[in-house]
């Protein structure tokens, strides 16, 4: 359907998109089904594989929607439909590794999770007749190490991070050089490779304490280097959300600045700040490289964070694979078990963060 616009013969006929040919509304669903069936049938002949099937279906669908739209509609609409298909496919593509990774850890690790795995350290037994070393997997030393190291890191990072955020939001003038420098450095600090933080803690302790200075404290310092910028960032955001009116009302009543900050500003922002801190803990609890460098790793039980190597779950998941004991199968099992335990802890922390944000949110009246 064309209508000519204007009087001059030089004007080209303009097509109206309202009356142009359209593909039927559910064409996308039908084409998707058709490509799934067709590629599935073709694959059945040569051997079925779900991954190849998904890829083939996606490719076939993109081609089909592009061609049919180009034939019935026009090139511009065809491009639009192809772009829509591709963008949707990329999103599905991102969900696959997430589901696959979590599923793999669950399947491989679930067999390891038992009370004895959590409550015992791994024990090796030597059988003199067969000359074999068998090992009962255990992760108690890693569970204890994880909580101690992460706990100390939190104790170091939270005061520093929170106070620095208060300085940036409440005290520093927008033009202050210190403020600009610190904001910039916090930005850059979030990008420090985690292994470099581990090397820093190791260097610090070997230079100060002496060689063989592996300890949980050292690992905790490495983790706080990673954690402080996260805490500053999230606390800063939360403090900025507190309305200026609240502060001014407090000043008007003659309350001093520090008391205003503690009793009014922090009180208002605390749920958000706690959420941010819990999320920061969830982030660093899974760090492997810095702990591995600064606290080394051990199969022995060591609850003293100030002396000797300590183990965490993340490090056990790594060393169980890369530096296994004599009984390789059992070491690998320990790796998967602790990986699953770690994922559970991380998910728990994430849930706690959400719950805190919801329960302690300031009551709106």
């Amino acid at each position: 359907m064309t209508t000519s616009v204007g009087n001059g013969p030089s004007r080209a006929p303009v097509t109206s998109t309202f009356t142009d040919a359209h593909l039927p509304r559910l064409i996308e669903v039908w084409l998707l089904l058709a490509s799934a069936v067709m590629s599935g049938a073709a694959l059945l002949l040569v051997g079925f594989n779900p991954a190849v099937w998904a890829v083939a279906t996606a490719a076939l669908y993109v081609i089909a929607i592009g061609v049919s739209s180009r034939l019935v509609e026009n090139a511009r609409k065809a491009n639009d439909r192809v772009a829509r298909a591709l963008v949707t496919i990329t999103f599905l593509l991102a969900i696959v590794p997430l589901v696959s990774a979590l599923w793999t850890v669950l399947v491989k690790g679930i067999g390891q999770l038992s009370w004895s795995f959590i409550s015992q350290t791994g024990q090796a037994r030597f059988n003199p007749t067969t000359l074999e070393v068998t090992r009962t997997p255990g992760a108690l030393q890693a569970v204890v190490g994880t909580f101690e190291i992460t706990g100390i890191a939190t104790l170091i990072s939270v005061p520093i991070g929170l106070l620095a955020a208060i300085y940036l939001v409440e005290y520093a003038l927008t033009t202050s050089h210190l403020r600009r420098v610190v904001t910039f450095l916090v930005d850059v600090m979030t990008g420090i490779p985690s292994i470099v933080a581990g090397l820093f803690a190791f260097s610090l302790f070997t230079l100060v304490v002496g060689p063989k200075a592996f300890s949980g404290l050292s690992a905790a310092i490495a983790l706080s280097v990673l954690m402080i910028p996260i805490v500053v960032r999230s606390s800063e955001e939360m403090l900025r959300l507190v309305p200026t009116d609240l502060r001014e009302a407090s000043y008007a009543l003659g309350v001093t600045k520090s008391v205003t900050i503690i009793k009014i500003v922090l009180r208002t922002a605390i749920p958000g700040i706690v959420t941010g801190i819990v999320l920061a803990v969830a982030r660093v609890v899974g760090e492997t490289a810095p702990v591995f460098i600064a606290a080394s790793f051990t199969d022995n039980f060591n609850a003293d964070p100030f002396n000797g190597p300590q183990q965490t779950l993340a490090v056990l998941a790594y060393t169980g694979y890369k530096f296994p004991g004599k009984d390789i199968a059992a070491s690998n099992q320990e790796a998967w078990g602790s990986a699953l335990l770690l994922v559970i802890i991380v998910i728990l922390f994430n849930i706690i963060a959400r719950v805190v944000a919801r329960i302690f949110a300031p009551k709106s009246r």
Binding site: D80, V87, L168, L173, G191, V196, S203, G254, S258
Partner: protein
């Protein structure tokens, strides 16, 4: 006391322009002189924490330099410690670190090439294609990828991605083996750079996605509607209204992703079977370039004291490189990114008000 408070809030809420700098100084002095003890202590603590952050960052650089220096200046072929073990084959520190740096950049580059189109696609899907109500949930689903510990992705890469990519590797090697990247004897285990980079790409997806998504969402609504009103399809609207606006934001998102990829340790250490060489091959068993971070993680437990210093030296270089990449990314985002113009306008307006 209340008098000083008023001055205080006035100083805080108005922004001093360059012209009123002396006034600012007077205000600050006046404020300091009338602060109560509690106030002064609290101010001291907060300022101290801010300064401590600068100290920590400086400390990281200084301690790494001090610790690495002996290995950097040592004469490697004659040193009994360095002429052994993992550092045996190298004449000096730079000969040791150069191939590692190459490997780090190469592996990260491949990961970026894989991750960027996917990440931009996801960001577009969440910001412009998905139903508005679902956008938040879908966004947090992608953010969940960032919450999964890297060691878990490493283990997943070993048992899922390695075998999964082997047929693809064989295919590329067989038909496209004349391209240097795909050349060589294909790996039988799948512990290749390709597998490592794919896992790395998955790990940097969330950071690129979340920044691009934010930038896409900040596209002025009027620009988008103007494009649509002129008859553009959704894709044309994105091309003419969203992408030009978001370009610098996308570039810095990719750079931040690169910064993350450079320092990523576990995925590479667990998956790739490495050698310290200059190689572009991504499908072979023996010719996989090693990265700095993975090399440290693999050799640190078995290294002697001076060898550790050498490893710390390589870590120092990694620190410098990723520091540079991050600064560049922040600079681009801050100087030209969306919001920069409005921030500047706000600053100027405030300055005009206080003047």
């Amino acid at each position: 006391m209340s008098d000083s408070k008023i001055v205080d809030t006035a100083a805080r809420s108005s922004t001093a322009s360059a012209k009123s700098a002396p006034l600012e100084g007077r205000r600050a002095r006046r404020r300091a002189s009338t602060l109560s003890t509690g106030d002064r202590v609290f101010l001291g603590f907060t300022t101290g924490s801010a300064l401590l952050i600068m100290l920590i960052l400086a400390g990281v650089a200084i301690f790494l330099i001090v610790k690495a220096l002996p290995a950097i200046v040592a004469d490697w072929p004659t040193d009994p410690e360095l002429h052994a073990g993992p550092t045996l084959a190298f004449g000096n520190f730079w000969a040791y670190v150069a191939p590692l740096l190459w490997g780090t950049l190469w592996v990260s580059a491949i990961a970026i090439v894989i991750a960027t189109p996917v990440a931009i696609g996801i960001a577009l899907f969440i910001s412009h294609y998905s139903p508005r109500r679902l956008a938040g949930i879908l966004g947090s689903l992608v953010d969940l990828l960032a919450a999964v510990p890297s060691v878990v992705f490493g283990l997943w890469g070993i048992i899922v991605i390695r075998p999964f990519l082997r047929p693809l590797g064989d295919f590329l090697n067989h038909y496209l083996g004349w391209i240097p990247i795909f050349a060589g004897q294909p790996s039988s285990t799948g512990s290749t750079i390709l597998a490592g980079s794919v896992v790395l790409a998955v790990m940097i997806l969330p950071i690129i996605t979340s920044i691009s998504r934010e930038v896409f969402l900040q596209t002025p609504r009027l620009n988008e509607e103007a494009a649509l009103a002129l008859g553009a399809t959704q894709w044309e609207m994105i091309r003419v209204a969203v992408f030009p606006y978001a370009r610098s934001g996308m570039v810095s998102a990719i750079l931040l992703g690169l910064g993350r990829a450079l320092g990523e340790t576990m995925a590479i250490a667990l998956i790739i079977s490495p050698s310290i060489v200059f190689s572009v091959r991504i499908l072979t068993e023996g010719g996989n370039s090693q990265t700095i971070a993975a090399n440290i993680a693999l050799n640190f437990p078995i290294a002697t004291s001076l060898q550790r210093d050498a490893l710390i030296g390589t870590g120092l270089l990694l620190f410098v490189v990723s520091f540079g990449v991050n600064i560049l990314a922040r600079y681009i985002l801050g100087a030209t990114g969306p919001g920069a113009a409005s921030r500047r306008a706000r600053r100027e307006k405030k300055a005009a008000l206080s003047a």
